[in-house]
């Protein structure tokens, strides 16, 4: 990832963090987050949810006697490895990509598994589709499920193409991102993906996630006797006779369901 841009510097990030409560290091990312980073990224209710699941922690920094092992990473070392992208766009590099270029790059690098139009080959993930999430076994796609377009850029850049990860240039990642968003009718054919446009893409399922774990959501009791009526004990399903279970003795089984 030698072509990864420098995203923030140790020297100025803390100062900005102190001022606005947010670790922005450069003008581009800070611009994307005006006026209130937390409010823009999540809305107040999300911010409140996040505060609940990751509360402020009292950190004791009074330590003065350090082990002193290791070295201080250089800015270039940090920039090369810190590939993460936040929903507000922090971490997106310079560059851009169009939907039409994305169609070409996708066809070469992605279509073999994901299908030319993101329909998904074999058991590989389907990327496009707008089925309702309330149906039985819905296909969870970028269009109906992913909450942030920035996550799409991050994941393609981070992990794709599956057999040759980290082989795409930022412009190509932008282009593929634009193409997949377009396949899902989220952006028009004329859309150009870059560090300014991606954080602004309104994903259909942006507010579809509950961030605070609602469990325990069951209330079974420690009943010890006559807990249910014997007559109510009924087998509703059995694995017996279903041709789904590989053998658990002998060599590894390559069976497929009949």
């Amino acid at each position: 990832m030698s072509n990864s841009p420098k995203r923030w510097t140790i020297a100025i990030a803390p100062a900005l963090a102190f001022l606005c409560g947010f670790p922005f290091a450069d003008g581009r990312a800070a611009e994307a987050a005006k006026p209130s980073p937390a409010a823009q990224s999540f809305g107040m209710s999300k911010a409140a949810q996040l505060a609940k699941i990751a509360p402020a922690v009292k950190v004791d920094n009074s330590k003065v006697d350090y082990f002193g092992y290791g070295t201080t990473p250089t800015k270039a070392q940090i920039a090369g490895w810190a590939i993460d992208v936040l929903p507000n766009g922090r971490g997106l590099p310079p560059g851009s990509g169009t939907v039409s270029h994305g169609a070409d790059v996708f066809s070469t690098n992605c279509a073999a598994c994901h299908g030319t139009f993101g329909e998904g080959e074999d058991r590989y993930p389907k990327l496009a589709g707008t089925s309702r999430l309330t149906v039985n076994q819905p296909s969870k796609t970028v269009g109906n499920y992913w909450p942030y377009a920035t996550t799409l850029w991050d994941y393609i850049n981070r992990a794709m193409p599956f057999p040759s990860p980290h082989s795409l240039q930022p412009d190509d990642v932008y282009a593929i991102t634009a193409y997949i968003l377009n396949l899902n009718n989220i952006v028009p054919d004329s859309f150009v993906a870059n560090s300014r446009t991606l954080p602004k893409v309104k994903m259909p399922n942006r507010n579809g996630f509950i961030l605070v774990d609602p469990r325990p959501d069951t209330s079974n009791r420690e009943c010890m006797s006559q807990c249910i009526k014997l007559a109510d004990v009924k087998i509703t399903s059995t694995a017996e006779g279903k041709q789904l279970t590989p053998k658990t003795t002998g060599p590894l089984d390559t069976m497929q369901p009949k």
């Binding site: 990751a54 920094n61 039985n136 469990r215 694995a239 590989p246």
Partner: protein, 442 residues
């Protein structure tokens, strides 16, 4: 491949036959054959079953078994040991139809063969998002940066100089039991519950490293990232990282296995497997979660109303009977020890109850020491089986008082699209012939 099996023994015999003992061995072989013929036994034709029958006939009392009449293999015959070649079926297995590729897939631990709470390293379940990579420990680095006072780059040698701890914890994939949400599907303990294993992990507490780098006041989250091709990453609350997380290089007394992230992985005790980032290369502190693909598109639970639960990291109390089970059927009426495991990501298991009538009546099982927080706990229960059909269940309770739910209760609340965090009570149907099946009850 030298599996140390019969071939190895043939070599040993060949070696010995060149030595002074050759004559003695030869006489013994003749004597054995003579004894077998004299006692009316007919040597079976050469076949596996035949060889077994012959071995058993000559190795039971009063006979002195063949292996008692030879000198065994010497030390360092196997410089790194392995199971007996008779133990062939005890291996990790996969469900070939489950995933698109074996590089982004899962294998299952044979819990039906696990006697104690520790999963041996070779059988620890695997889950890869981009395959098992081979990392040179001399080249590997761990970088800690972001909202810290002193960013740090550590070699493995640096990391191993820090004060270390060894703790026993389970790791469970939240998709364990995921194929059973809609119905009983897989007739196998290994495949319904084998995405859990338990090991003793050795490493430096993450809190030690965070003290060393100095956490800035506004930090709330930590991004953990792997060196694998997927750069697998998850956001974790700083609070948990400062509590009990371990940056681990040791597994059951030896180096981490490549399958478990050699040379270093994150251990997040009691939390779902995928946050225990393997081949750990980077920790970044920030103010908010990153909403990575693995905490939005995946590892989120779709509810019946179309909303999805995210950040459901905790493993709630769960248990399963490991004997009997579909792979380990009953062998006729009599007194049996029912065996199983229980675990909770919230702390210790306080007790496990067992039902043999499908949940009408329950009796307390015996917990075997040690009972450790966020570790697998072994339970046993004596049961006299009368040979009639039975429905076996176990129900775990942890130190928070949480009681393991039924699948019916889970479905009522969460529907069937959730995939993850199925911690329901498992029902094994025992038929009169002793065979055992995976079933679900109303």
């Amino acid at each position: 491949m030298d599996d140390g099996g019969p071939k190895g023994e043939v070599r040993l015999v060949a070696h010995l036959s060149r030595s002074e003992s050759a004559g003695r061995m030869g006489r013994r072989a003749v004597l054995r054959q003579g004894a077998a013929l004299a006692s009316g036994l007919v040597l079976a034709p050469v076949s596996v079953s035949g060889a077994r029958a012959a071995a058993s006939a000559t190795s039971s009392p009063p006979a002195d078994p063949e292996w008692s009449q030879e000198i065994g293999a010497g030390v360092v015959d196997r410089p790194y040991g392995k199971p007996s070649h008779f133990v062939k079926d005890v291996i990790r297995r996969n469900v070939p139809w489950l995933t698109a590729t074996p590089q982004s897939s899962v294998s299952f631990t044979p819990l039906q063969h696990q006697g104690g709470i520790i999963t041996t390293n070779g059988l620890f379940f695997e889950r890869y998002h981009s395959g098992r990579i081979s990392v040179d420990p001399a080249q590997h680095r761990l970088m800690i940066h972001g909202l810290v006072e002193r960013p740090l780059l550590l070699t493995m040698e640096d990391l191993q100089r820090f004060p270390s701890v060894s703790r026993i914890h389970f790791i469970e994939c939240p998709a364990n039991g995921g194929m059973e949400w809609r119905a009983a599907q897989l007739n196998s303990l290994q495949f319904t519950h084998g995405m859990i294993s338990c090991a003793e992990w050795t490493g430096v507490k993450l809190s030690t490293l965070l003290e060393e780098v100095g956490v800035k006041k506004n930090a709330r989250w930590v991004l953990a990232e792997g060196a694998d091709g997927a750069h697998m990453d998850r956001s974790l609350p700083l609070e948990k990282c400062l509590d009990d997380c371990i940056v681990a290089w040791g597994q059951n007394g030896e180096a981490l296995r490549p399958e478990q992230g050699f040379p270093v992985r994150l251990i997040v005790p009691g939390w779902q497997g995928n946050v225990n980032i393997k081949w750990l290369r980077r920790l970044e502190l920030g103010t908010q979660p990153w909403f990575t693909r693995e905490e939005t598109s995946k590892y989120t639970e779709l509810m019946p109303d179309g909303k999805a639960r995210a950040f459901t990291w905790l493993i709630y109390a769960k248990s399963v009977i490991t004997f009997p089970c579909p792979e380990m059927p009953m062998k006729g009426p009599g007194l049996y020890e029912i065996r199983g495991f229980a675990w909770s990501g919230k702390g210790r298991i306080t007790h496990v109850d067992v039902s043999t009538d499908g949940g009408v009546n329950w009796k307390r099982a015996r917990l075997q020491e040690p009972v450790l927080p966020k570790a697998m706990t072994r339970f046993t229960f004596e049961w006299r089986w009368d040979g009639k059909p039975a429905l076996l269940q176990s129900r775990a309770v942890d130190e928070t008082g949480f009681v393991q739910p039924t699948i019916a209760e889970l479905r009522q609340v969460r529907g069937v699209n959730g995939i993850y965090n199925n911690n329901s009570i498992q029902t094994w149907q025992v038929k009169a012939d002793g065979s055992v099946f995976d079933v679900q009850l109303a």
